[in-house]
């Protein structure tokens, strides 16, 4: 992977939209939803060990939790007939348990019928509403609209608004294994796994996918995003299916997984944010949510079971990192992170992305002012984390071609073994984290934030994190010369890591240190009301917000760079 970005036109790999898997899927939406509902039901019956008692209990728990959710946490997007539906489920359950004379097999059939009603509803709720016309329009708005703004800002003169000198590809730089991704996407099925720092990511990735000439990917987007109209429109246009994080009951989770797995088997390229939610701390995801990831492995095994052995049935995992100087939601995220102390709970969506107006304002700022973004596409891997060659063959670390199907064999036959696949999912998760760190691209802003925070931390060795963050900002000032030499030390180590292939660097880090620092300070968290780092009148480096500084510093966590400060 080179550090330079390539600006070029990519032809669509499938020119006719009717060939797009996502279009095919939306055409047969009804059948597909039914297929998912049926498969989910079977799956849940299997999980409950085909026992009426356990199934009954699961259904009752689900009902209870759904009622609680509707009462305590209603959202705008919730359908109106929801209360009605669950009322009916309730009466069916009550009815059934009162019925004593039914035989066990009759009872079983009835409970399973209720279950299928639920999975059917969930599957329909989850399924996306991809519309090609919306997709085209969205793509149009994003590319032309934004590049007009961009040119207006960068090219001087009256005609600037119509200039074509800059395109979005200058603003959002795509680097990495773009050709391999295009090659493999035209033959097999791609599961893209990006890091997740901002709500903007979904749109960015959507734009990247379309710029690279790939057909749209389907992906699970938090249902909360559909509360905001502008996002709902984009999401539907981009092939999103809905993930409702409020629903943690077994039928829902299994239906969700089944949906994802069946869609991958259908040949739909998919996108998961494996971190689950946005990284609250600003640290590159190190613990992944493995639920959806496991569906990629399941789908691969299912394809082998169906006898699809060539590349057409192969699933490729492509890690992607999105690198920012500035994350709009940073203040809210880091606050969450610090107050949650690592425990996941329901949180209020009250950050900067809460209204369409705020987002539009941000987008305008983003395109008219500085602050570039880069998207790094990693090497494709098979579902075990082995790299693949241009023909999609899995390779071992010595470059020998290996058959991915053999990971699922017992005595020469492909077998379904959930415990094994769980371990495979863990393993894949670890590989993805490794790749994230490898393809991550260091920016000047990451360098200055990391260095400044570590210098402050070293100065106050005895304080723990929380006390450190509570230091009065006016007491902190780092003399410029010290700061410069320390930045150089950190950068030298980053260059070493880069030489070992452990990280990437933006080309602007090859300038002289004064320029890098100036660039970094200008860009780090540039639109926040309180800036994480600036220089004061004496030229010393100061911070206006320690928590934000900590957030941006975290981007370089996981490289053992902090050991330079011991």
């Amino acid at each position: 992977m080179t550090d330079e970005y390539i600006k070029r036109e990519y032809d669509p790999i499938l020119p006719k939209k009717d060939e797009w898997p996502v279009v095919k899927l939306s055409k047969s939406r009804k059948e597909f939803v039914q297929q998912v509902a049926k498969a989910s039901k079977d799956r849940i019956v299997k999980i409950t060990g085909d026992s009426v008692e356990i199934l009954k209990e699961e259904l009752e728990t689900t009902l209870y939790r759904e009622k609680l959710r509707m009462k305590q946490n209603p959202w705008v997007v919730d359908p109106d007939d929801e209360a009605d539906f669950w009322k009916k489920v309730k009466s069916a359950l009550v009815h059934l348990s009162a019925e004593n004379n039914a035989s066990e097999s009759q009872q079983k059939a009835k409970y399973q019928e209720i279950l299928e009603r639920i999975t059917d509803r969930y599957a329909d709720e989850i399924a996306g509403n991809f519309k090609h016309s919306h997709y085209k329009l969205t793509r149009g708005i994003v590319t032309t609209g934004f590049s007009r703004l961009l040119n207006a800002a960068r090219v001087k003169g009256i005609r600037s608004f119509f200039s074509k000198q800059y395109t979005l590809q200058d603003k959002i730089q795509i680097i990495g294994e773009t050709d391999q991704l295009r090659d493999l996407a035209s033959q097999g099925t791609i599961v893209m796994v990006p890091t997740h720092f901002s709500n903007l990511d979904s749109i960015l990735i959507g734009w990247t996918i379309s710029t690279l000439g790939l057909p749209p990917f389907i992906y699970g987007a938090g249902l909360n995003l559909f509360n905001i109209q502008i996002f709902a429109y984009f999401m539907n246009a981009l092939g999103a299916y809905k993930v409702d994080r409020r629903k943690k009951n077994l039928p829902y989770l299994e239906t969700l997984k089944t949906y994802s797995s069946e869609a991958i088997q259908f040949g739909c390229h998919s996108l998961f944010f494996p971190g689950g939610t946005r990284s609250r701390s600003g640290i590159i995801e190190s613990r992944l949510k493995l639920g959806l990831l496991s569906t990629a492995i399941e789908a691969q095994r299912a394809n082998y079971q169906k006898g699809i052995e060539g590349i057409s049935g192969k699933i490729f995992i492509v890690p992607v990192t999105i690198n920012y100087h500035f994350v709009l939601e940073a203040p809210g995220l880091i606050k969450d992170y610090l107050s949650l102390t690592g425990q996941e709970r329901y949180y209020k969506e009250s950050d900067e992305f809460s209204t369409s107006y705020k987002i539009s304002k941000f987008l305008f700022k983003f395109f008219t002012k500085g602050s570039d973004i880069s998207v790094s596409i990693g090497k494709a891997m098979d579902i075990m984390g082995n790299y693949v060659d241009e023909a999609g063959h899995s390779l071992d670390k010595y470059g020998r071609v290996i058959d991915c199907r053999e990971y699922f064999l017992t005595n020469g036959v492909v077998t379904e073994n959930h415990q094994r696949e769980e371990e495979y999912t863990n393993k894949l998760g670890r590989r993805i984290v490794e790749e994230f760190h490898r393809i991550n691209r260091v920016f000047s802003s990451h360098l200055v934030a990391f260095t400044a925070f570590q210098m402050i931390k070293k100065e106050h060795k005895k304080l723990d994190l929380f006390n450190l963050l509570r230091l009065p900002e006016e007491d902190i000032a780092i003399p410029y010369e010290d700061f410069k030499s320390t930045c150089q030390m950190v950068l030298d180590r980053i260059k070493e890591l880069k030489a070992e292939g452990k990280v990437h660097m933006a080309p602007h880090l090859n300038q002289d240190m004064d320029t890098i620092i100036a660039h970094g300070l200008d860009n780090v968290g540039m639109y926040h009301a309180k800036r994480p780092l600036i220089r004061n009148a004496d030229g010393a480096v100061i911070t206006e917000d320690m928590s934000l500084l900590y957030y941006y510093h975290n981007r370089l966590d996981g490289y053992d760079l902090e050991k330079l400060f011991i």
């Binding site: 290996i402 990971y407 064999l409 017992t410 005595n411 077998t415 415990q419 371990e423 495979y424 393993k427």
Partner: protein, 352 residues
């Protein structure tokens, strides 16, 4: 999952025919066809013609080969039972012939240190956990095999070959590996337990060697059972702390592969580690002892490795540290014991 009766058609492989390898091969041969791998041509011939491996008798239905490709082609389940010093090299030689469907269950108790090319442990001041590999980690590093297990427990080769009752632990993250190991090894005389904490079980087997050397030393000084009881209990604490730091779970260390194996090894005058300790106490130097032993005592390497790992972690492991001084820094064994007796332990058990 279908479990076809593969035992009749697919033979089981054993890599290495040292004393433990021979015993395992014989045990497996009771129910299965077995192919063993030996590096030396003359050993292979000896097995195929006389059914002995360097004098140790082998079952008649065991076939030997020195061709890694052949044994990998024929067998889906392989038991590598080789010394830790040669483990990495053997795995590298086998790597081109191993496939993702293979199951490897090893019986080697040791650690391998991954250092940059051309460096030895004498050159480095500190080592990170990622540079220390248990045998299962070596297999994962060097080959495409993922379904890896290990076998550990009080399994003294001599007693097993006499068919005395015994038990072992098969540890793996994969249930199917544990089940396969049980299916292949279990008999009226041999009980097989399962454990999912493979790192913990491997470390139990590795770290107990340190305590075994200490046990030998106590015996060599003519001390009795009180001292041994003290050692085993304090040794346990040390193993739990070291093992935790290296990624094992406490539960495994107090299981069969942990305390079970430690009690057996600390009482066995035949064990190599015990012998090293015994001779040290008799006043022999490490060099002398090493030249007179034909098979390696894993504990010696382990002590050195763990001592280096401890540097800079702020952790203390008094038994290991003092044995290191005795082995490499000419500390008298009596002085080491004195030091341990004065060491300010005050809590009996603080890890549960």
């Amino acid at each position: 999952m279908t479990s076809k009766n593969s035992s009749s058609d697919k033979p089981v492989g054993v890599i290495g025919v040292g004393s433990f390898g021979t015993v395992i091969a014989n045990m497996l041969a009771e129910k299965n066809k077995v192919i063993v791998y030996a590096r030396k041509k003359e050993v292979v011939d000896e097995i195929n013609k006389q059914h002995t491996a360097e004098g140790r008798p082998l079952s008649k239905n065991i076939q030997a080969t020195n061709d890694p490709e052949y044994i990998c082609e024929r067998c889906e389940v392989l038991f590598p039972v080789i010394s830790s010093s040669g483990f990495r090299e053997v795995m590298r030689n086998f790597s081109p012939f191993l496939h993702p469907y293979h199951i490897l269950i090893h019986g080697t108790k040791g650690l391998v240190l991954y250092l940059p090319e051309g460096k030895s442990i004498a050159d480095v001041k500190q080592i990170r956990r990622s540079q220390i590999c248990t045998m299962s980690e070596v297999i994962l590093n060097e080959t495409v095999v993922v379904r890896v297990g290990c076998m550990a427990g009080p399994n003294l080769a001599k007693e097993l070959s006499e068919k005395q009752p015994a038990a072992t632990v098969i540890a793996s993250k994969y249930n199917e590996v544990i089940l396969e190991g049980q299916r292949l090894l279990r008999s009226d005389k041999f009980q097989v337990y399962g454990n999912s904490d493979i790192i913990g079980v491997e470390l139990s087997g590795v770290l107990k060697n340190i305590i075994a050397i200490a046990a030998g030393a106590l015996a060599g000084m003519g001390l009795g059972e009180n001292a041994k009881g003290l050692l085993i209990s304090r040794g346990m604490v040390e193993i739990v702390y070291l093992g935790n730091a290296l990624g094992g779970s406490v539960k495994s260390f107090i299981g069969l592969a942990g305390i079970g194996d430690m009690v057996a090894t600390c009482n066995s005058t035949h064990s190599r580690n015990y012998t090293v300790g015994y001779r040290l106490a008799q006043g022999q130097s490490l060099e002398q002892i090493l030249t007179e032993m034909d098979e390696v005592a894993e504990g010696i390497n382990t002590i050195r490795l763990i001592k280096t790992f401890l540097e800079g972690t702020g952790m203390r492991a008094p038994i290991t540290e003092n044995l290191y001084k005795v082995l490499y820094e000419d500390l008298k064994i009596e002085e080491a014991l004195q030091y341990l007796m004065k060491y300010p332990f005050n809590v009996d058990v603080d890890f549960l």
